[in-house]
């Protein structure tokens, strides 16, 4: 009969019973091991504390990129304002650290001792009420996640409940990033203005500026990144992960499968915001300041580029992409500072047009088949050479 299409006959031969597979497949396991070896062994051994701290900074952007894989790669929601959440998370921790650095003894020469220096410079004589809770580390750490996630919830609810999506959503998130930057710069008495919150020193008495502290923070950062990767992988493998993919392709149909599409979008947007916020907080504590230059449109778009270069459908790819682009940025922008922006733009266009799945896609189509041939199925996964 004419009934059997090529698809069916192919399926007959390969139709594997679709059991829920392992947490990571073979390629993912190899990628995860390689990344762990790079982050926890190779970089710490190969780099001096200054360079290691630099890579620690790059890795804070990877949190944002991983969140974008969920929002954009899986869910089709392209936020061009992730810097907002990176910044809010970063500022929440910076406020705590700044208050600790502004003890009355440290600030005795100010006209009002005991408040952050930039407030004193702006003739503010009393700590604003909304700064008060940031004396508590516990509150500040909760705020790192809760404030950006709540903000994302408000934005997400306002937009997705009204079924604003696609390009409109992207533009609005960009506008929000611009507005927040302007707000922070304009309110310098409360926010430190364009310089941001600087001169952060200790966390509960522990000097975060020492080489030793920076090395420890680098490992904490790596650990948190892997925790976020594990959470992202859990989400991707759940039915929610498949609903996101279904939504990206046929949002309308998903409603008629009985799902409230908006609540899924809001969830994944909040999750992406929370990841970005953790990255922001880790940036603050590792680099020692937070400023509006990480909140606005340009950093937000850069973070999308990191994700796109790595591969917007691969959480590990997003981390590799972030590391690679930033490493290249450091190399090139030292040599040709003006060309870098152009190069980054060109890279983005090339990735979108020629390699839509980024590095992860290239790996999957070109490198992985070779590895599979070298090490056929049943051998234990080997770490690819760096």
């Amino acid at each position: 009969m004419t009934m059997t299409s090529p698809a069916t006959s192919a399926a007959l031969t390969k139709a594997a019973p679709p059991r829920q597979g392992a947490f990571l497949d073979r390629t993912e396991t190899m990628g995860a091991i390689a990344l762990a070896v790079l982050i926890f062994v190779i970089l710490p051994l190969a780099l001096d504390p200054f360079r290691l701290n630099l890579f620690g900074k790059y890795l804070t952007y990877a949190f944002v990129a991983v969140g974008l894989v969920l929002c954009w790669g899986a869910g089709g929601i392209l936020s061009l304002g992730q810097g907002v959440f990176f910044g809010l998370g970063g500022y929440a921790l910076a406020m705590f650290l700044k208050l600790e650095a502004s003890s009355p003894e440290n600030t005795a020469i100010q006209s009002t001792p005991g408040i952050p220096d930039f407030m004193d410079w702006n003739q503010i004589t009393e700590l604003p009420f909304w700064w008060q809770p940031f004396h508590s580390l516990t509150f500040s750490i909760l705020a790192v996640i809760a404030v950006p996630a709540f903000f994302a919830f408000v934005i997400g609810t306002a937009m997705f409940r009204r079924r604003v999506g696609g390009v409109y959503f992207s533009i609005i998130t960009q506008a929000i990033a611009a507005i927040l930057t302007i707000l922070i710069i304009g309110q310098q008495g409360f926010t430190g203005g364009v310089n941001g919150i600087t001169d952060l020193r200790t966390m509960k008495g522990w000097d975060i500026r020492s080489d030793e502290a920076k090395t420890i923070l680098y490992f904490v950062n790596g650990g948190l990144l892997f925790a976020c990767l594990a959470l992202a992988q859990f989400v991707r493998r759940s039915k929610l992960g498949r609903i996101l993919i279904a939504m990206r392709d046929r949002e309308d149909r998903v409603r008629f499968s009985g799902y409230d599409v908006a609540s899924f979008k809001i969830f994944v947007f909040c999750l992406g915001a929370a990841f970005a916020a953790i990255g922001g907080a880790m940036f603050t504590v590792q680099v020692g300041f937070m400023s509006p230059s990480f909140v606005g449109i340009v950093p937000s778009i850069e973070m999308v580029i990191f994700c796109a270069v790595g591969g917007r459908n691969s959480i590990l790819g997003a981390v590799w992409g972030t590391l690679l682009v930033n490493w290249a940025k450091t190399l090139f922008s030292e040599a040709f500072p003006e060309l870098w922006q152009l190069g980054l733009g060109a890279l983005f266009i090339a990735v979108v047009l020629i390699f839509p799945d980024g590095l992860a896609g290239l790996w999957k189509t070109h490198v992985n088949p070779r590895i599979e041939r070298l090490f056929p199925r049943r051998t234990t996964p080997t770490v690819p050479a760096e």
């Binding site: 009969m1 004419t2 009934m3 299409s5 698809a7 069916t8 192919a10 399926a11 007959l12 390969k14 139709a15 594997a16 019973p17 679709p18 059991r19 829920q20 859990f234 989400v235 759940s238 039915k239 929610l240 498949r242 609903i243 993919i245 279904a246 990206r248 392709d249 046929r250 309308d252 149909r253 998903v254 409603r255 008629f256 499968s257 009985g258 799902y259 409230d260 599409v261 609540s263 899924f264 969830f267």
Partner: protein
């Protein structure tokens, strides 16, 4: 109206929608009884698809009411209408191309509809058994691991029917389920539909008159968004107005 039925599962009254002044559906009334198979026929552009769009919440009505088992559907969101027990198959097969047949059916499995429900959802034996049972009915048991994008047109139609079946809706709405199918596929589909329309109310839009005669309890004829005739197939076919606008050519 003449066919008003107080026990009706679905009561559509004065349903109207206007697109920039053009009334695609205009003051429509009809009632679907429990276990009835209602077929809607009418020339292209008569508003048949739009009627289903209005019932399932895809298009917002301008006026009227759609009452399903006491729920006013016009005030509900699409997913709430699904939960109330209304399932809809679209005219063009709409399945999730990037997912496998198994995953398509799994998404339609009526459990874990909330965000956290979906996160906690597990593929237990019950889910597996049910998906395999449905896949068998829709002739796709051997293609469960196949990406939906690689299915033939007819197979996609079956998959979408399967996605509805697994939801087990009380009211099933099918928009031209055999359109674009080969003759052999049509025969199989007719057999499939005859199986699944038992024990529930069904609204089918169909052009194939032989097929309509086979399955219809009652037929509603639409013309320019209005009800032209309603009754048994024989009754409708004998109606001069119907012959003029629809069957005549």
């Amino acid at each position: 109206m003449s066919y008003e039925n107080p026990n009706a599962v679905l009561m559509v009254e004065d349903l109207t929608v206007s697109f920039d002044g053009f009334k695609a559906v205009d003051g429509l009334n009809f009632y679907v009884a429990p276990n009835e198979c209602r077929v809607i026929i009418g020339p292209n552009g008569a508003g048949k698809t739009t009627v289903l769009d209005l019932i399932c919440g895809r298009t917002k009505a301008t006026g009227g009411s759609v009452n399903f088992k006491g729920h006013e559907l016009l005030k509900m969101r699409e997913d709430q209408i699904v939960h109330a027990g209304v399932g809809r198959k679209f005219q063009n097969p709409s399945v999730y191309e990037d997912l496998t047949v198994f995953e398509n059916l799994e998404i339609s499995y009526p459990k874990g509809y909330s965000v956290f429900g979906a996160l906690a959802f597990r593929r237990d034996q019950q889910v597996h058994d049910r998906i395999e049972e449905i896949a068998e009915i829709i002739f796709l048991k051997d293609a469960l691991g196949e990406k939906a994008a690689f299915l033939s047109h007819g197979q996609k139609q079956w998959l979408e029917i399967g996605m509805l079946l697994i939801q087990d809706p009380e009211l099933l709405m099918l928009d031209e389920p055999v359109a674009g199918m080969s003759v052999a596929e049509r025969v199989k589909t007719a057999e499939l539909l005859n199986r699944i329309i038992a024990d529930r109310s069904v609204i089918v839009i169909e052009h194939d008159m032989k097929f309509v005669e086979d399955i219809a309890t009652r037929v509603t004829v639409l013309h320019q968004g209005k009800l032209l005739a309603e009754g048994s197939m024989a009754h409708v076919q004998a109606d001069p107005k119907v012959i003029e606008v629809y069957l005549g050519h």
